[in-house]
Every structure is written in structure tokens, then in C-alpha cells.
């Protein structure tokens, strides 16, 4: 699982309410996507491109546990999210819906908006191609990598519940 794209950088403690505003959650995806993270950076929903990489500070995705915030990030077709850290519900939802995410303390010091990053999701190796700087993300537990490879929780649910070997 590889991702390569331009970096969009965000701050610490961004709540799900700022990823998808609460008055948006029943709107159709095209409408939601026009506003994803717009309170943090109005350029993001307008200009995010498939494969781009979102880099955030600590505790990304706090507040609501609704998977819609993670799903909206996946719908933008970004390659992955690399964060200093995630809120646990966002972290769990990311793997459950098949969105590649990595925790990499120190990442925000070494990347800037617009840098080109390449990320190996499995090994956690991150290269800032613009500066040449390399970082190593925290290892992802094998159980969660399996879930990501399966495409999320639902495709592996029977196996997980012990109802299919």
C-alpha cells in the first residue's frame, strides 16, 4: 500500500465537527465534499486531488465517533492521513472503513503545505521528496493492517465474529 501526493497540513485537536459540520451529515456526498475541512482551510475542499496526503497535528478527529468524518476524508480520494496522533474513534473508524492512516510523532515539523510526500502504509516509511527528509511512522498493529487489506471491517466481520474460518 503506497501513497504519493501533495501535502495538506493541519493543526492539533481538529474535531469531526470541523471535518464534516453537523448540519451536513444527511446531505449527499457531493454537497458534503464541498465543505470538508473548510473551516480549517477553505482551499482544501476546492483543490484537494486524488492521492494527496493530509498531515495533521495531535488528536485529529476528536469529538463525534460517527464514521462520516473518516468516510468524508476517504471520499476526497486522498492517499492517506499521517498525524502526530488521532482521537481513538477516528483511528478505529479509519481502519474499519478502509482509509489508510498512520501515526508519526514529529511529522508536522518536517513537512510543509505543498511538499510532495511518499508513504509506505505497511512499513510506515515516509519520504518528503521536496526536502529529502525521511521519517518512520509508528508501526500499525497487524490486526489493523489485515483489516485495511480486507477493505475494512465489514468484509472481515464474519471471520472476526468466529462464524467463518
Amino acid at each position: 500500500m503506497q501513497a504519493r501526493g501533495r501535502c495538506w497540513k493541519f493543526g492539533d485537536n481538529i474535531p469531526t465537527d470541523m471535518i464534516v459540520r453537523t448540519d451536513m451529515i444527511f446531505k449527499p456526498w457531493p454537497e458534503i465534499l464541498k465543505h470538508v475541512l473548510e473551516t480549517c482551510n477553505p482551499e482544501f475542499p476546492a483543490n484537494v486531488k486524488p492521492g494527496d496526503i493530509v498531515v495533521t497535528g495531535k488528536h485529529f478527529g476528536q469529538s463525534s465517533g460517527r464514521a462520516i468524518a473518516a468516510k468524508a476524508m476517504k471520499q476526497t480520494k486522498i492517499g492517506c492521513i499521517v498525524a502526530e496522533g488521532f482521537a481513538r474513534t477516528f483511528y478505529r473508524n479509519g481502519f474499519e472503513i478502509g482509509l489508510p492512516i498512520l501515526e508519526c510523532p514529529g511529522i508536522t515539523e518536517h513537512v510543509s503545505d505543498g511538499d510532495v510526500l511518499s508513504v509506505d502504509v505497511e512499513s510506515g516509511k515516509i519520504v518528503n521528496e521536496t526536502t529529502g527528509y525521511e521519517l518512520q511512522a509508528k508501526p500499525t498493529p497487524p490486526f489493523l493492517l489485515d483489516m485495511l487489506k480486507a477493505g475494512g471491517l465489514i468484509p472481515m466481520a464474519e471471520r472476526l465474529a468466529g462464524e467463518r474460518s
Binding site: D12, N13, P15, D17, M18, R21, T22, D23, I25, F26, T39, K58, H59, Q62, S63, S64, G65, R66, A67, I68, A70, G85, A87, R88, T89, R92, N93, E96, I97, P141, F143, G152, L153, I154, A157, E158, L160, A161, G162, E163
Partner: protein, 420 residues
Amino acid sequence: MNMIEKILARASGRKAVAPDDVVVANVDCLLLHDLSGYLTGRVFEKEVRRPMRYPERVVMIFDHHFCPPSEEGALVLQENRAFARRHGINLFDCGNGNTHHVAVRNGFIRPGTVVVGSDSHTPIHGTVGCFATGLGNDSHAGTVMPFGKAWFKVPETIQVRLTGTHRPGVTPRDAALWLTGQIGEGGAIYKSLEFSGPYIEQLDFWDRWLFPHIVVDLGAKCGYIEPDEKTLAFVRTVTDKPFDAVRGDADRKFEATWEWDFSALEPQVTCPPTVGNVKQVDEVIGAPIQWAELGGHGGGRIEDFRLAARILKGRRVHRDARFNLVPSSRAVFTQAVREGLVELLHEAGATWFPPSTGSNQAYNMGAMTANEAMISTHARNFPGRNGNPNAKMYLASALTVAASAVAGKIADPRQFLKEF
């Protein structure tokens, strides 16, 4: 093992579990509300397409709406009712109260059980002696509804030992807000927090409730208070069903012990834009507010209305402020009627709203313009939850909320209390 480890071991058929183990555990109760219940229902019917294994364990509570103000809202509720009927799950329709209060008061939450929910404040049920945590839609739809199970990583546990007695004018909510500022947003990521100590022991059930309430915004997976005689006596008032309460071993180990004393605490106000921005009331006195509200997961308790009545007795809500009162359950409203609080607060100019979660996320009430501010007992103040993202939300005790409603701006409640 501690309480959480014992519950997870029992629910996953193991003799013992330790931090970092990944277990698949049986789930005793799944709580859904009208917003994420709808989203979960769609995943279950469109992507999972299996029967509901244990419909009696699933509870849907409409609390963000009490009477939909738009066709969009009405359609969401219509779909939710049809979903509940199709699958035979428990449904509490508009007007019953806040999701967590309704679940507890109807006996769905029993000590020693595993409780999950689509609301991120589900860890609040650690007050009852449960392992309770918030999961996402896909866990609920993908494994809880079809198989009655969910996966969990066993968390490390931190002991939060609390002592001290409050000064007059300071309440357990001030202590909980202050603690949020001390530990900080994301200050306990993935941890389990055991609240204990003489301070916790002397609190009644609904004041203890305010502590597991905060853990999600600290980043924790769960929080709990070991069930004692007070807990068990409370639970027996809401259910006849049997339960098997669990307490940790006396020699249980903690990753850390954090200790605080509340003896010198002043009234606290959480300021925009996030829950970690907690200040002493004297730093924000005079900040303008147009709205004040008692309600939400931690608010709308009978205790909150009693505190507000202490401030409002013989006074009126300021002409430039509006004071919303939102009971957390029908039982609380009945009690408020019996105690004369409904009339007293109504005559003082406050407005009673139906039992619900009130202005939490502004689905049925509580939208603000960019220029408006509210002070409330709600759990959160993040931008984007109450209308314009520039609207301000302050969080405080019922005393401070009521005092601010009287002053038309943020006020120290002690100026209105007779003993000062």
C-alpha cells in the same frame, strides 16, 4: 485485573486479559440516537444485509430531535422508526430525553456489562460500573448488530484519585471542567480512567456521572467508577433484571496514579473554541451571552434545576438573554413539577423545552449567528456544532449558567447566593 479487564475477559470467554490484547467480546447493549442511528441503519441494511441477532439489546433513542423542524429531519425520524420496526429493536421516540439518561433510567445499563454506542459520550455508563465506549457506525452495523460482538483492544488504566470538599458556589461540574483542563484534550489517549477517592465516594450517582462524562474529550477509551452500594441501590431503582457487578482486584496495577484535591477550586468556565480551554470564572466575567441552557448529556438533571432555582428565586432572566431548560428525561421533568421548580423557573422568565438533548448540535434548537454566544451545561463547545462556526459556546455549572442568564453576561454565581 481491574474492573474493565475483568468485564472484557468475561465477555470474551477468557480467564484473563492484559493491556494491548485484542479481544472479540459479547456486547450487552448497543445505544443509538437519531442521527448516528440513521447512519448506522443505512450501513447495516445496504452493506451488511444480515438479520439483527439480538434486537432486544439494541436501543434507539431520538434525542437530537423532539419535533422535527424540517422535512429532512422528519424523513430521518420516519426512516429510523421503520428501521426499528423492521428489526424489532427498542425505540424511544421524541420527547423521552437524552440518549444516555433514557438508557439508564429504563434499565438497559447494568453493572458488569459491555455497553457500546454511536454517541461518543457512551463512556458515561462507566458510572454504572460498565465497560462502555463509543464505536463507529461500521462496528455497530458490521459486528454488533449481526453477531452481538465487537473487537476491542484492552486499554492501559490510569487511576484518577480525587479528594477534597468544595467551597460554596462550586459544584461537581466545576471540578469535572477543571479536570478536563488539567488532563487536557488528548491527555489520556486510549487510556481507561478509574475515578476513585473520597471525593468520588461521597458524591451521589448523578454527580458521579459528570466524571466518566469527560473522558472521551481527554482522548480516553473509557472511564469508570467501581460500583459500590450507592451504585447498586440506584440500579435497583431502575431495573428488576439480574446483574453481576464487578470490582477490580485489591492488588490491581495502574499505569499511573493522578491525584487532585478540589478544596481550593473556584467556579470554572470552559471557553471557545475547545473543551481544554478552561478558565476561572473571574477571567471571563462580563463576556456577553445571548443564550443560557441547562441540558445535554451531563446537564438537565434535577440537580441542575435545583441549583438554577437557588439563583433565580426572586430574580428574573435578563431581558437580553434567553434561558433554555431541557430536562434529561421525563422522570426529571416530573420531579421538577413536584418540587415546584417548573413554576419557579418559568415565572422567572426561563423557557422549558421537551426532554431531549437540547441544543447539542443544533438539530432542533440552539443554532446561533456568528455574533451570538451561549453558556451551557453541554459537553462540548467545538466550532460548527451550533450554527455559524464563529458562534461561541461556553461551558459551566448550572449555578454559573443561571447567574449568567440573570446578568445577561457571564457572571460569578457567588454574587447571587445568600451565604456570601
